[in-house]
Amino acid sequence: MTSNPTLAGRRILIVEDDFVIAHDFATMIGQAGATVIGPVGTLLEAMKLIERTGHLDGAILDINLGGEMVYDLVDALQAQGVPVVFATGYDPAAIPARYASVPLCQKPIDPEQIARAIFG
């Protein structure tokens, strides 16, 4: 038996290029009791950030970062054992088969859905 997963106390990385959405995510995830790492809007910033930040419990990633694909970051996070969820407007069919196992949350996101996807 497990209780419903929660974000409370978790360190969650947010990578989203649109400020309005990133701001919204950060507010929601923060209200859900998590510590928000980021948000950052570019792949380069994200890569730098995961180098210097401490332990991560999970990451919410937009797929398309101003034209750049986020997949290199997914590889880096998975290598560290960090669970990842995609938050995107894309249809699942548009995602490469390699990343088919990554949970997908359609925007607008719901913190509970995120928590289930990462920790469920």
């Binding site: 290029d17 649109d18 400020f19 309005v20 990133a22 701001h23 948000p39 809007g41 101003g66 034209g67």
Partner: protein, 769 residues
């Protein structure tokens, strides 16, 4: 006869002899001398009559050459035949005087009638001989009485005749000489030749009649060679003279001379004149202008040389001649090269060896000769055999060689080796066939038009499928008009313009509509036309590919519809979101402020979607973005609003954030600032600059002369919070911009230093990329 008389007679005779001697020495006139001879002898013998009879040429008659006591019609006119019955002939034959004392009793001789009529009764014939006993004629003394000429008379007459002979001889020779000289003069006068006399050693020109061709030379001259002979020929002339004058009596040579008109060629011939001892005393020569003949000969030689050169250097042609039976006579290098046999191997052989065995068996060579004989030429276009057995394709002709009388003396054959050309032509035919197969198989229409008339030279079968018209129909009458009828009337001008451009040498593509006659369907055709250049560098033909683009045009139209639909839906969706927000607010205790701000922000987003949906066709510029937002608030460029800056394209991914920022700034200006009723001026300016990471645009938003109010919103409030959030955080976060925002009592200043993506500057103005 008494002695005294006799002495007197002798004395008279001696005087006659002396007198005649004087006459003979003084006169050179034969007739005068002979007349005097007759007169004196008549006087000496007392007859008063005497005559001289001269043997005429041929020795068959005697002419009364001179006479005294005879009628004028006798002297110089009467001729006596020299027959056996005449005393005259008898006397000449015997070489002694013959006396007829009384002709009435003469039975030995016939006396000529004219003498009897003149009453002659007696006569003496004394033969006259020239030195060497060459008979000249007779001295005849006549008397009208019977007379007995005694021995003294006879002796006197013999002596007289002996004197007379050499005198006559001298005069005759003189006469001959005169005649000869006269003939020579006449010859010289009648001839056109230059005539000259020259010394035996050829040093001295004694006389030269130039005949208007050379300058006359009437005095003796030793410088005749310098005078007449061309300087380059002098040595040759001297050598020739030296060579020939040793033993020949005739000198002949050709050389060049100088004459008043320039240089000419002469043929000069001279004959030696020798004296009695055989010594050459002079050369007599004639020279003739042979310049024309030499020129003609040279021209002929040159022409023959030229002909020979042509035949021998035309090694791409086999030219050879045969005798009437086809045996090879001339086999020049061209024939050697093409057929492989050397001249030694070929000459004398039957030309049949150049034919293939099949042609030989079919009698082709004989037929060719017969045809050439009958028609004057026979074409010879077929494979031939070479020496090594390989075959060579010859394109040529055989012609008969004819003598002046028309008989065929042989044949000349001229042919060209076209083996390679035929192979090329064959390859070309194959290539054309392949092109045709390609054209026939293609689902696009392949076509070629002649550039001037635009008539089709080739039209592939796909035409019928695309245009719905048979090719027979399309190629009937004027091809262009017929084709134009198929094209949608609205598109005809564009299509004509396309052809015009291609005619000028452009490659061009045009898409246009056709209306198919077969089913009335409208279809789209994309024509790619290109010029085909001639060797002269002009467009000779137009080639093209016509493709049925109906599907593509339709799918593009569908795509455009789809984009429009998407845009429509996006905006609708924003509308729905707006409605839902309003509905939600109805339950959660809405504020008017929320409703208004939220609504305006959604409207700005919606406008930006409009811009973005057209971004493919129309790049979004900074100016367009600013104008769109300001216009939405009813603000226009003018006294209070200034918008100024270069052409700058904003990347579609940056548009939404920037547009929201502009919306916030403009809305605030409308509410509180330069665009409000309180007054003030708005100026938005920007400029481009190069930063470390490429191009950047620096945007300066200023509001001045604002009405100062202490009750106005605080700086934080004025931005509504959200505006400042976007400016100070969203712009750096999403677009990497550096921003400032300062609000004073009567002014506001916001600057945005925004990096631009590559290619964001207006094309053509770039100078650093």
């Amino acid at each position: 006869m008494p002695d005294r008389d006799k002495i007197e007679v002798l004395l008279r005779q001696r005087k006659v002899l002396a007198d005649f001697g004087d006459v003979a020495l003084q006169s050179e006139d034969m007739d005068a001398v002979l007349h005097e001879a007759c007169r004196l002898v008549g006087e000496a013998l007392g007859t008063g009559r005497a005559k001289v009879l001269e043997i005429e040429k041929g020795g068959e008659s005697l002419l009364v050459r001179a006479g005294v006591g005879w009628a004028p019609e006798v002297v110089g006119h009467v001729r006596l035949p020299m027959d056996e019955h005449s005393s005259e002939t008898y006397a000449i034959r015997r070489g002694k005087p013959v006396i007829s004392q009384d002709i009435t009793r003469e039975d030995r001789f016939e006396v000529p009638a004219f003498m009897k009529e003149a009453g002659v009764v007696s006569l003496v014939n004394v033969p006259v001989f020239r030195p060497g006993r060459q008979a000249y004629g007779l001295l005849q003394v006549d008397d009208t009485q019977p007379r007995d000429f005694d021995q003294d008379h006879i002796e006197f007459l013999r002596t007289y005749a002996t004197i007379l002979g050499p005198v006559i001889d001298r005069l005759l020779k003189l006469e001959e000489l005169r005649a000869s000289e006269e003939r020579f003069r006449a010859f010289v006068t009648a001839s056109n030749d230059v005539v000259y006399r020259i010394s035996p050693d050829w040093r001295e020109m004694r006389d030269l009649r130039g005949r208007g061709f050379l300058a006359d030379l009437s005095h003796a001259g030793r410088d005749w060679q310098e005078h007449f002979v061309h300087s380059e020929d002098r040595e040759m002339v001297q050598a020739a003279i030296k060579d020939m004058t040793g033993n020949e009596d005739l000198v002949e040579l050709e050389h060049r001379v100088r004459h008043p008109g320039g240089i000419a060629w002469v043929l000069s011939r001279a004959a030696a004149i020798r004296d009695a001892e055989g010594q050459i005393i002079e050369w007599l020569g004639a020279a003739r202008d042979v310049t024309d003949r030499r020129a003609a000969e040279a021209a002929l030689r040159e022409s023959e040389e030229r002909f020979r050169t042509i035949v021998e250097t035309a090694t791409d042609y086999a030219i050879f001649t045969t005798d009437p039976d086809g045996r090879i006579q001339l086999w020049p290098p061209g024939a050697q090269r093409i057929f492989g046999w050397t001249a030694e191997e070929a000459v004398g052989q039957a030309m049949e060896m150049t034919y293939t065995p099949e042609d030989r068996a079919a009698g082709v060579p004989e037929n060719e000769r017969r045809e050439a004989r009958e028609k004057g030429h026979a074409p010879n276009v077929r494979f031939h055999m070479r020496k090594d057995g390989s075959r060579v394709f010859i394109e040529g002709v055989a012609r008969p060689l004819t003598a002046r009388d028309g008989t065929v003396t042989g044949f000349v054959k001229v042919g060209q080796d076209v083996t390679e050309r035929r192979a090329t032509e064959e390859a070309l035919r194959e290539s054309e066939a392949r092109f045709r197969q390609f054209g026939e198989a293609s689902s696009d229409v392949l076509w070629i038009r002649e550039c001037e008339s635009l008539a089709y030279e080739y039209l592939s079968p796909a035409f019928e499928t695309l245009y719905g018209l048979s090719r027979e129909e399309a190629l009937r009458g004027n091809h262009v008009l017929r084709w134009m009828e198929l094209i949608h009337p609205d598109d005809r001008d564009r299509v004509l313009d396309l052809l015009r451009r291609v005619r000028k040498g452009e490659n061009a593509t045009e898409t246009y509509r056709i209306i198919r006659p077969i089913d009335g369907q409208t279809r789209w055709v994309r024509n790619t036309d290109f010029p085909l250049w001639g060797k002269d560098g002009h467009v000779q033909r137009i080639g093209g590919l016509s493709h049925d683009a109906t599907g593509e045009v339709e799918s593009r139209e569908r795509l455009e519809l789809l984009v429009t639909e998407l845009q429509h839906r996006t905006r609708n969706l924003i509308g729905v979101v707006n409605s839902i927000a309003n509905q939600t607010m109805a339950h959660t205790g809405p504020t008017e402020a929320f409703r208004e701000e939220f609504g305006h922000r959604l409207a700005a987003l919606s406008r930006v979607q409009g811009l973005l949906s057209r971004a493919q066709q129309e790049p979004i510029t900074l100016r367009a973005l600013l104008t769109l937002e300001l216009q939405a608030l009813g603000a226009k460029e003018g006294e209070r609003v200034r918008i100024d800056g270069p052409w700058v394209r904003i990347r579609p991914t940056n548009v939404q954030t920037l547009a929201l920022v502009v919306h916030e700034l403009a809305t605030n200006a409308r509410k509180y600032g330069a665009l409000s009723e309180g007054g003030g001026r708005l100026s938005v300016t920007w400029y481009l600059r190069s930063g470390d990471e490429g191009q950047r645009v620096f945007i300066d938003w200023r509001e001045d002369d604002l009405s100062p109010t202490d009750e106005g919103p605080s700086a934080a409030e004025r931005g509504g919070g959200y505006g400042r959030l976007l400016i100070e955080r969203a712009l750096p976060y999403s677009l990497g911009a550096t921003t400032t925002y300062e609000l004073g009592r009567t002014e506001l200043r916001c600057t945005i230093d925004l990096p631009l993506a590559r290619g964001s500057r207006k094309p053509g103005t770039s100078h650093d990329q």
